[in-house]
Symmetry: C3
Subunit: 349 residues, 3 copies
Amino acid sequence: MQFAFTLEEILEIVGEGQTEGLTEVKVTGIASLDLAVVGDLSFLGNRKYRSEVAASRASVVLLPQDYKGEPSAGQVYVRVSNPSDSLARICERVEKDNWIKPDSGIHASAVVDPSAVIDPGACIGPLCVVEAGATIADGVVLESHVFIGCRAQLERDCWLKPQVTVASDCIIGKRVRLHSGVVIGSDGYGYSTVDGKHRKQPQIGRVVIENDVEIGSNSCVDRARFSETRISEGTKIDNLVQIAHNVVIGRHCLIVSQAGVSGSTTLEDRVIMGGQAGMVGHIRIGSGSRIGAQAGVNCDLAPASFVTDSPAYAHLQSRKTEILKRRLPELFKRVAKLEEMIDSKDQIQ
Amino acid sequence: MQFAFTLEEILEIVGEGQTEGLTEVKVTGIASLDLAVVGDLSFLGNRKYRSEVAASRASVVLLPQDYKGEPSAGQVYVRVSNPSDSLARICERVEKDNWIKPDSGIHASAVVDPSAVIDPGACIGPLCVVEAGATIADGVVLESHVFIGCRAQLERDCWLKPQVTVASDCIIGKRVRLHSGVVIGSDGYGYSTVDGKHRKQPQIGRVVIENDVEIGSNSCVDRARFSETRISEGTKIDNLVQIAHNVVIGRHCLIVSQAGVSGSTTLEDRVIMGGQAGMVGHIRIGSGSRIGAQAGVNCDLAPASFVTDSPAYAHLQSRKTEILKRRLPELFKRVAKLEEMIDSKDQIQ
Amino acid sequence: MQFAFTLEEILEIVGEGQTEGLTEVKVTGIASLDLAVVGDLSFLGNRKYRSEVAASRASVVLLPQDYKGEPSAGQVYVRVSNPSDSLARICERVEKDNWIKPDSGIHASAVVDPSAVIDPGACIGPLCVVEAGATIADGVVLESHVFIGCRAQLERDCWLKPQVTVASDCIIGKRVRLHSGVVIGSDGYGYSTVDGKHRKQPQIGRVVIENDVEIGSNSCVDRARFSETRISEGTKIDNLVQIAHNVVIGRHCLIVSQAGVSGSTTLEDRVIMGGQAGMVGHIRIGSGSRIGAQAGVNCDLAPASFVTDSPAYAHLQSRKTEILKRRLPELFKRVAKLEEMIDSKDQIQ
């Protein structure tokens, strides 16, 4: 990532900001307050790091309006309404300048079935495979080593990183981003057990990924046993997450790394699921619920629930119990003492 | 997945069934009772959804013999001995009609070492790599982007989805299915630590996957330090599962998503391991044992054990403890009250 | 893996050893004591298996100096200072003889951008992609289906197994080993939520993997939001591990399978993280700390801490609490009995 911004360019990208101090240096890097060196831009995005501002060697520091302090020599403070947002704008500019969308067209090494419909504005990168009947819309990017199965549909401007698999009949919405190693549409895990042997239940449904979804590396979304598994608009899924068959994830949910959702469970809109959390199958999680990291949810949850622990229950109660659990050694002693006192009275009386 | 079945065709596929009601519509979809529309087939597979039958708009509904109720106009009820099994038969037919086994032969874009032995009845798909000395039997399918290492052996009719890796010297049995991103035979995690540095222990064993095993997307089975890691006949493994080096998994086990088994542990036959459960290394799990989701097993288990919690212990005991744990606030109050009462008596006496 | 060693060759490889007994057989396999057959070499690496030595059918057995017992007919005992180390030497020899480093050069099927700098001593295997501006040093091996993004740098002798992704701008140090399905440099999971919708924060940093790191199959290391995510020298990471953006892992750490580290957390040197353990973001784990399997760490830890449970706390305390937790049914009964006794006294008095 190479860039060199003058202070004026920074202010122009950010679109606001009162400056204090002077610098001749161009900004050629971005770093946290403690690691920044001359030539870097830094920012105070979290109060926790407030004490690190004064000692920071960054040439330009984005600060909230209410920060009290003065820049050192050769350093500029820029006060903005939200330093994190301002930083995001600068990063977006760097991203745009450096990660140029590849030219449209089909790479000579790609293997594309003649019956696939590829829009001339799509980019099919090297060593990709597109099977019969797939349709790929304008602005789609398949970076490299991507597999698109029969009849799959990729809508406008979705972007698939290297080594992604989209199995047959699945639908990928507009502006969806799938990171490397993601598998969409592998078979659901369904067997009927007869005489101790597991007979495969065919998994003939599909996966539908709605617009503006992003899915992290090596995550898996299984196709439905029949009908569909669905990830709704705007939901963001982290790396190594498991979404089982027939699951429905609502809109604008956040599912953090290594979480898993079992078959036929429904998450309503705006649910937040912490890292390594799990859910059993066939339950419904009300909209706006929060599931703590490593929690294990085994029943329906009302909207706006907040649960932790495994099995999971109300966070406030779970937190209280957790504290008391650690006081068990004390409680056992207190009970033993009571028994001793009662016992000695019995002997006296 | 495209299909259109008349009621007569449905009855023929299912092989049984008493009908009630009339429909002119062909079945072109399969859906759950609540989501079904005209033209769909639905079914009552789980008593839990019994109340949804009457309101379902499905054109054909598979029901158990004892279901009481009548179809609406234009709807047909079909009573069968096991609706789930009947549905499975219909799904199998749809699968067979839609997912046609690719033609045998080696795709022009595949890279196959001249010393590999490929049966003429095998299909080596686009952009696959088969290294020296590998043998691939009749009926095997490598879909695309599959890597087969030196001397690996793939037996009849095993089917590898896109992006699978089978490292050198591993053996894949008959009818095995490996889903996208599966890695068979990566190095086991073994180091000897000398002066605080970790020196790699060579991992020179292999992996043997026996007949009729299925392994889900992005799961990993490590090669043995020496000798072998083995997954026995008929075992079904879900997505994102970790099987470490020298593990032996018995026959007809079920290992649910994101579970992990540490090195040199043995699971006897028919063990069921819940999602996100873990096992330490060098233990033995008796046949028919059940391990709850998110459980952490750290010792040998007798056959037919049922354990939950982390560290795991007998489920009935763990469940009881879990309930009492949540009553800790009450218990602390009761003990405090006892202490107060004793104290006040002391003062009185 | 094919080999045939005489007893003399074994002793030469091991470099020490007093023999007892005689065998004519060449060693053509390595197996554990209980599974070994004639022709195998076995070893006693763990006291736990001491009782299995006498019944072992191995032709050659590596034993510690203090083992008491005599070989059977046709069997040889070899006493060495450390049987595991001796075995490792034999395995290293087998590995060297069998896994020959592929010839250097670029395979005809690889897609390499003309601006990439590939050392003539590097091996770019079949169907690899190397993008513009990447540099690949002497001795590097990319086995097959490997993707190397723009401007990525691979230093001497690093070895990437099939299906690895290294995204743009990342740096891979000397002798690093990345196993199949590893993703280095996918976007970090960062969004700012405005009006209930999640807007992507660009992730423009990189990943730096220092020398002698090894990372297991399907593990993910996300690029930094800005600056870098770093895995320091000599650290060994198992399969299916998640390392989030801006994490810094110190030197010579061990991170076991399915563990996850959230964004901006720092592990100092020589930290050991058990399987399926997790860490929240923005914390610091002191050097030499041990995190138990499935633990959930939610706060800074002092050097040399040892924690378990979720949320995690001091292991000794957690172990004690765990034992007392299982005695809750007894404690509830004791408290009920005390209440009854107090109550009956009240009635008597």
